[in-house]
């Protein structure tokens, strides 16, 4: 079930929220758990299986690890927890990838199961692993209540696209939370923003990208190729950040405070800056549970750099089961390393706009790897982007597509860069009472406008 679908917005969400608000405090977790299980079983009830197995495994391992804290058994149990969850992830999430790779590189003729990748598997796996690791490090107590733990791990709002939330961040509100009017109001606002990002911006940008990627590269101009990359970038960013906004908003509506996950990554002036703005919860997770354990105590620069690259390759693989995703991770990781070695210092001496141009160029190259299913397609697209192939600098197709989508591109830019927030902050800070009044009026009106436009477009554009 997608957040931006008729069945979620007009059936599931109203029924869930009304039931949730009507039941007394102790029952709210029951409704949350049941709602989450319904959410995950929509699409294929079989997808519940890995979720429940993973939750059960990390719950049991957590208890056992705590019982044996300080002994070697705890370490063995931790390894066992990792093996169990990673095998589940590899079997359900990456089996097709390995089969495809084996067929391509080893000449085998294996056939995949055709089983759909369970929704949220990469997120709940990481959440479960962070839980057992934090228990083993003594950072949090093991959860004794299986019901609370399952409610945490299956919580549907953030399992679709993040943020990745650690158990200790939700430990207290799971036991006791109040849902206040101001929180619900802020939550609804956030949901409206998220839906507008996904339905109005991401889907429109996606249609533009689909038009461009359907063109033959030989018939594409350089400008059209770059326009395509911008469209793809907007589609990816507004989808992920839109869904995160909906998740954070839903969390507020039910009494949870999820961490922010995106902070205007298109305003980044370096790759390092970009990684601090893009999918922040994933970056933090990888730093705390992959990079630091692997490279933390190693002496010498080379091991640290090597494990940094490995971590980035894993980040790439997290996004999707394909070698182009891994290459994307390695590309970003390579630039991250260059910046940490010397490039960052050089960038800090240059005007911010130079850093921004460099960052956008480097990230655009990365987008091509994410966008293409095949390395050879990516290489061809690069050739068009840098003028080695195609029909020259500009063509009619570029002007036509750009003029058709000019509003999407402008509004996309407005929201991708921190302009909207900047306008609201400026109004707030204005000494002029009119500015503050205007800001208050905008804040009252825009959620309704965004929601109405999103619903009309969702229904009017059709299936």
């Amino acid at each position: 079930m997608e957040f931006g679908s008729v069945v979620f917005l007009l059936r599931f969400l109203p029924i869930f929220l009304i039931t949730y608000y009507l039941v007394p405090g102790r029952m709210k977790n029951v409704i949350l758990l049941l709602g989450s299980l319904c959410f995950f079983s929509w699409g294929s009830p079989v997808c519940l299986m890995p979720l429940l197995i993973s939750a059960g495994s990390s719950y049991v391992h957590g208890l056992l690890i705590e019982r044996h804290l300080g002994k070697p058994t705890a370490r063995i149990l931790l390894v066992s927890a990792y093996c169990f969850d990673l095998v589940l992830l590899l079997v359900f999430g990456y089996a097709e990838f390995f089969i495809k790779s084996a067929n391509e590189f080893l000449g085998t003729k294996l056939i995949g199961s055709g089983f759909p990748v369970p929704l949220g598997i990469t997120i709940y796996t990481l959440q479960g692993l962070s839980y057992v690791t934090d228990v083993s490090r003594g950072k949090c107590k093991a959860c004794r209540n299986v019901f609370y733990y399952f409610t945490y791990l299956t919580m549907f709002p953030q399992l679709a696209a993040g943020p990745i939330v650690r158990y200790q961040e939700l430990q207290a509100p799971l036991r006791e939370r109040k849902v206040e009017l101001h929180q619900v109001s802020e939550g609804f606002k956030r949901i409206c923003i998220g839906l507008a990002k996904k339905i109005l911006l991401a889907d429109s940008a996606g249609m533009l990208w689909s038009s461009i990627v359907a063109m033959k590269p030989e018939g594409m101009s350089l400008a059209t190729a770059w326009l395509g990359m911008l469209a793809y970038a907007f589609e990816v960013y507004f989808t992920f950040s839109g869904y995160c906004d909906v998740a954070i908003g839903l969390g507020k509506c039910i009494g949870f405070d999820f961490p922010e996950n995106y902070d205007h990554p298109f305003a980044a002036c370096s790759i390092t800056d970009f990684t601090e703005r893009w999918n922040k919860s994933l970056m933090r997770w990888m730093k705390d549970y992959v990079y630091r354990p692997l490279a933390g105590e190693k002496k010498g620069l080379f091991p640290k750099l090597f494990f940094m690259l490995v971590t980035w390759a894993l980040i790439g693989a997290w996004y999707g089961p394909d070698w182009t995703f891994v290459l994307w991770g390695i590309w970003i990781g390579f630039l991250f390393i260059l910046e940490s070695l010397f490039l960052g210092k050089i960038l800090s001496t240059l005007p911010k706009v130079v850093g921004w141009c460099y960052a956008m160029l480097a990230i655009s190259v990365g987008w091509v790897l994410l966008a293409m299913n095949d390395l050879s397609d990516a290489v061809t697209y690069f050739q068009v982007m840098f003028g080695a192939k195609g029909v020259g600098m500009v063509d009619h197709a570029f002007f036509f597509l750009a003029s058709e989508n000019i509003l999407t591109l402008i509004i996309g830019g407005f929201f991708a860069l921190p302009i909207f927030r900047g306008v609201l902050d400026r109004l707030d800070a204005s000494k002029n009472g009119m500015g503050i009044a205007l800001k208050r009026l905008l804040e009252k009106i825009y959620p309704g406008v965004f929601l109405l436009a999103s619903l009309v477009y969702l229904i009017g554009r059709g299936w």
Binding site: V6, G43, P116, H182, F400, G460
Partner: protein
């Protein structure tokens, strides 16, 4: 207190909007109608089965069912399209929304360049050399009505292609329909909502053919006496784009109506007259002109003419055949898009001979699409 009031206001508006849509979804019926792309609406709830539940198919079907049955779906689609048109969108599902209520099928340069051009030229050279054929390639509306296309719309250069055809096959074999249609471009020579020329456009095509054919006698058709057979016609481009424009009219020349000609389709079905009335009430009213989907038609005029005509043609030919027919005793019309046999074998059987003329009567894009 004020903060509480602000919160209620901020929450209340979107909640009220969501509630309104929930009520619309839950209470109202959308009714039974076809979607813009012609796909049938799932007006029945999807049938349950355990297999469909396990593989998730039931959920996809249910979501589509909810989407297609939403209250007043047409109105919402129309609002979205109007908003998109206002924001500059001009292409929907392979259709350009042009000026003056005109829709155009997208014929992009990349789609038709290269191999289709070379191979089609090879075909034309061969048929002209071997069978002394005349070649009459009809430019589509996006070529003649370029001024109505959206700004910067990509459109294959049909004039350039036609010039190349003329150069390759020679002036003698080439029928310059382009010049005639371009001269008459201010008139309604194409349908605004269909990939076809009108009977008026076909008439000008007939004039161009007559001027090249060397025929002494030209049959006179009075454009003022055309008879309307369908007054509110919306063509396939409306369905493809989902964009409603002003409906138009299908007319035929009075002089071609009620003729006692026999038409045999694919050696199986025999019918009388040029026009198939049953198509006017169907999804494909253009089938009115000689029918649709046949590979080979044999039209016998029952007149005193000596000569026969072998036509390699598409749906554009269907509109012109009634005008050209009186010049011939028999017309063979093969549509390569649907004919399953070998066109060259047919030519060998029916296209060679002292009293047989051969004519390629295709739209430019129709011919090129055969080689894509």
């Amino acid at each position: 207190m004020e903060e509480r009031r602000n919160d209620l206001f901020t929450l209340g508006i979107p909640a009220a909007i969501l509630l309104a849509f929930v009520i619309m979804d839950a209470l109202f019926q959308a009714g039974i109608f076809a979607k813009a792309d012609g796909a049938p609406v799932n007006y029945l709830k999807p049938a349950y089965s355990t297999g469909k539940l396990l593989n998730g198919q039931i959920f996809d079907e249910y979501e589509k069912y909810l989407q297609d049955r939403f209250y007043n779906l047409d109105r919402w689609s129309s609002i979205v399209q109007t908003a998109e048109i206002l924001t500059g969108k001009r292409e929907y599902n392979g259709t350009y929304v042009g000026k003056r209520q005109t829709l155009f099928a997208v014929h992009s340069t990349g789609e038709y360049s290269g191999r289709p051009v070379e191979q089609s030229l090879g075909f034309l050279e061969k048929i002209v050399t071997d069978y002394h054929a005349k070649v009459m390639l009809i430019p589509t509306s996006d070529e003649i009505w370029k001024n109505r296309l959206p700004l910067y719309a990509d459109s294959f250069d049909q004039k350039g292609y036609l010039d190349e055809v003329q150069k390759r096959i020679g002036d003698e074999a080439y029928v310059n329909v382009y010049a005639k249609l371009f001269e008459k471009r201010a008139e309604e020579i194409y349908y605004r909502t269909e990939r076809a020329w009108t009977s008026l456009g076909a008439y000008y095509g007939y004039q161009a053919w007559w001027e090249r054919s060397g025929e002494r006698l030209s049959y006179y058709y009075d454009p003022e006496r055309r008879k309307a057979v369908l007054n509110r016609f919306s063509g396939s481009l409306v369905k493809a784009s989902g964009r409603e424009v002003l409906p138009e009219r299908i007319s035929v020349f009075e002089e071609t109506v009620g003729k006692e000609v026999s038409v045999n389709y694919d050696g199986k079905v025999n019918l009388k007259g040029y026009y198939r009335q049953e198509y006017l009430d169907s999804d494909n009213p253009m089938g009115y002109f000689l029918g649709d989907g046949f590979g080979l038609a044999k039209i016998e005029m029952g007149n005193q003419q000596v000569r026969s005509l072998f036509v390699v043609g598409d749906s554009y030919a269907n509109s012109m055949i009634p005008l050209i027919a009186p010049h011939y005793q028999t017309i063979w019309l093969v549509n390569p898009k649907y004919y399953r046999g070998n066109v060259w074998s047919l030519l060998e059987n029916y296209g060679s001979g002292k009293n047989v003329d051969v004519l390629v009567l295709e739209s430019v894009t129709g011919l090129l699409e055969l080689y894509q």
